[in-house]
């Protein structure tokens, strides 16, 4: 785990990282632009928008913060909301930690900055498939981060001039998530866990406003899945789709 990487290695790491990251980058463009436009309407300068994107790097929390700024909410209220909105990263960080065993704390701290719903899902799949390492994963984190920051600033500069909803770009992240979910369905137990999570998430999301349903449903489903694995190991061992 040292920094002694040759130029050729560095190029290949960068290439692999960028090649893996493109669906996320594509998906961040419309969301980042939309955020920039909203933030600009709320009175934020492009510099202020960039500052928030760099320091926070969390789409949903940033949207909510701008909306709250518009209603005159205080700093404490906005920060508290950002905290609850992003608690789901606790689960993602835990799950990805399995693949970063023994990595130097300095790199871990840098890696943590780039954990998003998107980079988490993508990197986790790559790690499991093999041929993936923390440097490539870190590249994904930072390339996507750069796209996020740039899109939000461009949105603030004049995003209203860019046609919204062009070429179905709004669906890029959903398409990616659907395929990454398919990769996760590696056996009957994972399918069952996904079904439980889906049902729980839909029900909770209809009853409780906000996004707490993500964490709650995931914890319920993983716990139920673990119970199934212990209680009915024969069922849990079944094959998944294909």
């Amino acid at each position: 785990m040292t920094d002694k990487t040759t130029t050729a290695e560095r190029t290949s790491i960068l290439k692999d990282g960028i090649r893996a990251a493109w669906p996320i980058c594509l998906g961040y463009i419309p969301i980042g632009l939309a955020f920039g436009v909203l933030a600009q309407k709320a009175g934020l300068s492009p510099l202020a928008i960039g500052l928030m994107s760099v320091l926070v790097f969390a789409g949903s929390a940033q949207f909510i913060a701008v909306a709250m700024l518009g209603t005159g909410a205080g700093i404490a209220a906005i920060v508290a909301t950002a905290f609850t909105v992003n608690l789901r990263h606790l689960l993602m960080s835990s799950a990805i930690s399995v693949y970063l065993k023994g990595l130097h704390k300095r790199w871990l701290s840098l890696f943590a900055y780039g954990i998003t719903d998107e980079s988490f899902a993508l990197n986790l799949v790559r790690f499991r498939e093999g041929n993936w390492d923390w440097k490539r994963a870190l590249t994904v984190n930072h390339v996507t981060n750069a796209f996020w920051v740039a899109s939000t600033v461009i949105g603030g500069l004049g995003g209203a001039l860019i046609p919204a909803h062009a070429f179905g770009i709004d669906y890029a992240l959903m398409g990616m998530f659907l395929c990454l979910l398919v990769y996760q369905l590696r056996g009957r137990l994972y399918v069952l866990t996904g079904l439980i999570a889906s049902a729980a998430a839909v029900i909770i999301s209809l009853v409780i406003p906000g996004n707490s349903y993500i964490v709650t449903a995931s914890v319920i489903a993983a716990t139920a899945g673990l119970y199934i694995r212990r209680r009915w190991p024969r069922i849990a061992r079944g094959k998944g789709p294909r």
């Binding site: 669906p23 300068s45 500052l51 928030m52 320091l55 929390a61 913060a65 700093i75 906005i78 950002a82 905290f83 992003n86 608690l87 789901r88 990263h89 606790l90 689960l91 960080s93 930690s97 399995v98 871990l108 701290s109 943590a112 900055y113 954990i115 988490f120 899902a121 986790l124 799949v125 909803h165 070429f167 179905g168 770009i169 669906y171 890029a172 959903m174 398409g175 998530f177 659907l178 395929c179 990454l180 979910l181 398919v182 996760q184 994972y190 866990t193 996904g194 889906s198 998430a201 839909v202 999301s205 209809l206 406003p209 349903y213 993500i214 449903a217 489903a221 993983a222 716990t223 899945g225």
Partner: protein, 108 residues
């Protein structure tokens, strides 16, 4: 010009967003986990992805309401089947965008 309060706001948001990203990584990657926890964490990705996807396909509006007929959901069905069949990430993303664009054009 950026006001000091705004910088404070961004710093505050940045810190509370960073902590949940950092703490588990820092705590868990340095030790061997008990078997049950590893098995539990192994199920988390399938659970999180499902929990992220489904509500945004079958609910609309604020407060959310159930909606079983909308473009997001209609497009998701063939896209999901395509992903199951091909396991191609790039292909799935492009197909999803194309179908979503077409759905917006023809279904409104």
């Amino acid at each position: 010009m950026i006001e000091p309060e705004y910088i404070l706001l961004c710093l505050g948001m940045g810190i509370v967003t960073y902590i949940p990203r950092w703490a588990p990584l820092f705590a868990l990657s340095q030790r061997t986990l008990p078997r049950w926890l590893e098995e539990w964490l192994d199920l988390i990705p399938a659970a999180i992805l499902s929990a992220l996807i489904l509500p945004s396909l079958v609910t609309v509006g604020e407060p959310r309401q159930l909606s079983l007929w909308n473009n997001d959901l209609l497009v998701a069905v063939p896209v999901f089947l395509f992903a199951l069949r091909t396991r191609s990430l790039g292909g799935t993303v492009v197909l999803g965008m194309a179908l979503y664009w077409l759905a917006g054009k023809f279904l409104g």
